[in-house]
């Protein structure tokens, strides 16, 4: 183990101010805009983090109105994801689906969002009914939109209805104007559209930083996996940058409503626009944290140099880097896409950070990529990232170890509006189906989807954007592909179900969970589907062996999902919590929770809102929203035990190749854990023994987790639990639960 040291001489010399520009047609695009509706409002700044009003826009009826944010909303739902779920609950019926006009997209930043003194405080939470899961999805995204919306005067933006023509919603928080504009000639893809709109709505060069654009791209119109980009203006590069609300297809909902973009022009940001209750505490906490980054980050994760890609080679070393559709956990070519490479490829001589005051600054950018395929062939572009999930999902999981192709896949995902995590997992599934003869060239319309064939991988993505060929099928996501392949009789249904890495309709994110039972639960015993933002327990469980019993695992699957839910209620990013730690962290009790940082969050919330909380109240705040979301899922016809089942690929070895590749480990488990004699068993018997042992343990874990969460064995929150959380004040919530008790 050697700690990798940053060497500035190895950074590639790429001019980060040079890229293809798209402003030529701006005047004509602007002239074609037609105002459909314009209203005025009185801009306001928050008081202790809240404006106490939200904005409702119906793009179908063109109704625009302000709504009060009530004390009850703040008490129960806090903000961010909580506000999103509450608005969505009130907007939809149990029969509503993603493409009904009453479905909403709610963007809410949370009370703390927009402070500039602490790292990771510019987040927006986006909530909608997902086209992939038919239940609420929530996505946590950077970029300037959320804070600028709040500093214009709104704690949340609710978008409902369906337009007949392409529209742009423009919120001008400087002048107090909200406009719905028909936008017939605007570019489609995000890296072009966000640039054009930023220049269109900014009144001068200095105003660029006050603009943020929410938009998607061509693929969102032809797939269910569309994502939303949130822009921010990068002063030094002189260009827009994009952060993604990726999971669950919210971009698809956005285009189904015919929204081309939502643009916010906020006031110039200053240090205390939230008018917090206790600025001094926030200032001191922020400066302390910045110092911690300065002194510790170069010797810990090097987030400022690598971003989250720092764990590519680490995951490989622990056999956790998903390779070839989660079959394996490492690959000999990982060094080609490891953090040493990204550190040299990403521009280091600039300031990254998707909101002011983020000293962790993980939003790395790779400049000067000359695109090799597709509609932007020959263009020079800046790629945001790659982040770990992109390097693993688009890279190792599909066998792509060519970093330039990986960047190009990342670029096109972003500009086409495709979630990179989802695409990585669905493409890996397609490739494994191709490897196993479930798919072939005839069925893919000529695409050769062998591992690592980045050109055909990219062509499938271009098809997704054009709405053509096999790309359209792939764009339905893993769940619907599984159904189709089985219906067509293309392969063994059990194999197809085993290797399709989805739960609730959402694709898995990029960690191998086979050897960590707690992480299997961390993925599938979740509200929105298998996304690592609820709990990442692999090291605690598999490497440290800190969770030896079902009860210990259940406790971790109680605490961490609630702790991490809280970030999304307030507009925080999760990364500054645990991707750097104080020098004395090891000496603290419960060091794995990083107690000093938890206290920072408690202090910042209290200092922003004036409501004094402690670390237990923090968990209690989350528990209200988390259980509300569970009940919401049940109301929509999911959210029960059957919906928490996991595909076997996430639990253990599906195929003989997988078994044989780690035979020593699996045989040892048969001898030590199952008390059987592997030498007396055939490979088939051993695989069957693993399946039954692993599935049995997963069921036992589910029992333990439900019990700890205060849920019935069917996964329904009990009336006692709802009372404890004060959710019994909502009769409709109680009614949903009563049907299942």
């Amino acid at each position: 183990m050697t700690q990798f040291v940053f060497d500035p001489t190895k950074v590639m010399d790429i001019d980060f101010t040079k890229r293809t520009e798209y402003l030529e047609g701006l005047e004509a695009i602007k002239a074609a805009h037609k105002v459909l509706k314009e209203i005025t409002f009185t801009p306001s700044l928050p008081d202790k983090g809240y404006n106490n009003r939200s904005l409702y826009v119906n793009v179908g009826t063109l109704e625009v109105k302000e709504k009060p944010v009530t004390q009850q909303m703040k008490d129960v739902f806090i903000g961010g994801r909580g506000f999103g779920l509450w608005h969505l609950w009130n907007a939809v019926k149990p029969t509503t689906r993603w493409n009904d006009p009453e479905n909403e997209i709610i963007i809410s930043p949370g009370p703390v969002a927009g402070i500039t003194q602490y790292a990771g405080t510019g987040k927006s939470l986006v909530v909608s009914l997902s086209p992939q899961t038919d239940i609420p999805i929530d996505s946590n995204v950077g970029g300037y939109f959320g804070p600028l919306l709040k500093f214009s005067g709104f704690d949340a933006l609710e978008i409902q209805g369906k337009s007949e023509c392409d529209v742009i919603v423009f919120i001008d928080g400087q002048k107090g104007i909200i406009r719905i504009e028909e936008a017939p000639q605007d570019p489609v893809d995000s890296h072009v559209l966000a640039e054009v709109l930023t220049h269109m709505y900014a009144e001068n060069q200095a105003d660029m930083v006050n603009i943020s654009v929410v938009c998607t791209g061509a693929a969102a119109e032809h797939s269910l996996v569309g994502m939303l980009n949130f822009s921010w203006w990068d002063l030094r590069r002189g260009c827009i940058r994009l952060k993604q609300a990726g999971r669950g297809g919210i971009g698809t909902v956005f285009r189904n409503k015919k929204i081309r973009a939502i643009v916010c022009r906020g006031p110039q940001v200053k240090g205390d626009l939230n008018h917090v209750a206790d600025f001094e505490t926030i200032a001191k906490t922020g400066i302390k944290y910045h110092k911690e980054i300065r002194t510790n980050d170069p010797y810990q994760c090097m987030m400022r140099r690598n971003g989250t890609a720092h764990i590519v080679e680490i995951m490989d070393a622990y056999d956790l880097l998903p390779t070839h559709n989660f079959q394996y956990g490492s690959h000999p070519d990982t060094h080609k896409i490891d953090s040493a490479y990204w550190q040299s490829r990403c521009t280091q001589k600039t300031v990254d950070g998707c909101w002011y005051g983020c000293s962790m600054a993980c939003a790395k950018g790779a400049d000067g990529l000359v695109v090799k395929t597709g509609p932007y062939k020959g263009h020079t572009v800046t790629v945001d990232g790659p982040e770990y999930e992109n390097a693993a999902g688009l890279g190792s999981n599909c066998g792509v170890f060519d970093p330039d192709y990986l960047l190009e896949l990342n670029f096109y995902c972003d500009t086409y509006g495709i979630c990179t995590i989802t695409y990585g997992t669905l493409c890996a599934f397609v490739m494994e189906c191709y490897q196993r003869g479930i798919l072939n060239k005839e069925r893919t319309g000529g695409l050769d989807m062998t591992w690592g064939n980045a050109e055909d991988d990219l062509e499938m993505m271009h098809q997704m954007a054009r709405g053509e060929g096999f790309g359209v099928i792939a764009g339905q996501g893993v769940k619907k592909m599984k159904e189709l392949f089985i219906k067509n009789g293309w392969g063994d249904p059990q194999l197809i179900n085993d290797i399709g890495m989805e739960n609730k309709g959402l694709e898995y994110s990029q960690y191998l969970s086979k050897e960590s039972l707690a992480q299997q639960g961390g993925y599938a015993l979740t509200n929105k589907g298998p996304q690592h933002d609820e709990a990442w327990l692999i090291f605690m469980d598999m490497v440290n062996k800190q969770l030896p019993t079902f009860e210990a695992k259940a406790e971790a699957l109680y605490y961490f999902p609630l702790f991490r839910t809280w970030f999304g209620l307030n507009g925080f990013c999760k990364l500054p919590w645990n991707d750097v730690v104080p020098s004395n962290n090891a000496q603290q009790p419960e060091a794995h929770k990083i107690p000093e940082h938890v206290q920072n969050y408690v202090d910042i919330f209290s200092a922003t809102t004036g409501i004094k909380i402690d670390k237990d109240e923090l968990i209690h705040q989350s528990a209200k929203v988390y259980n509300f979301q569970r009940v919401f899922n049940i109301r929509m016809g999911k959210g029960l035990r059957k919906d928490d089942h996991a595909p076997f690929r996430s639990l253990g070895p599906v195929t003989s190749e997988e078994y044989l590749s780690r035979q020593e480990r699996y045989d040892k488990q048969i001898a030590e854990e199952m008390k059987l004699d592997p030498t007396a068993m055939t490979l088939e018997e051993k695989m069957a023994a693993h399946r039954s042992w692993r599935q049995g343990r997963y069921e036992q874990l589910t029992d333990a987790v439900y019990k700890r969460r205060g849920w019935t064995p069917n996964g329904v929150p009990t009336l006692e639990r709802l009372k404890e959380l004060g959710l019994d004040v909502f009769p409709e919530v109680v009614d949903v639960v009563k049907l299942h008790l």
Partner: protein
């Protein structure tokens, strides 16, 4: 023989904390290491000897996007 996170590992004369990390390929930077319950600082990984029969805990802090 020593125990590392509950797993057995052959002991040899001169084994350091760094030696344990290299042997187990523990490359993650955020570690909390104790040898027989005593906390070892990162700067002492190369010089701290691990005695035979020792119980070594290499606690990896959480990671993951």
């Amino acid at each position: 023989m020593i125990q590392v996170n509950g797993d057995g590992m052959e002991w040899q004369d001169g084994l350091t904390v760094r030696g344990v990390l290299v042997y187990r390929n523990f490359r993650f930077p955020l570690l909390i290491i104790t040898v027989n319950g005593e906390l070892i600082q990162p700067k002492a990984y190369d010089t701290t000897l691990v005695p035979d029969e020792a119980e070594v805990q290499v606690i990896h802090l959480m990671s993951g996007g």
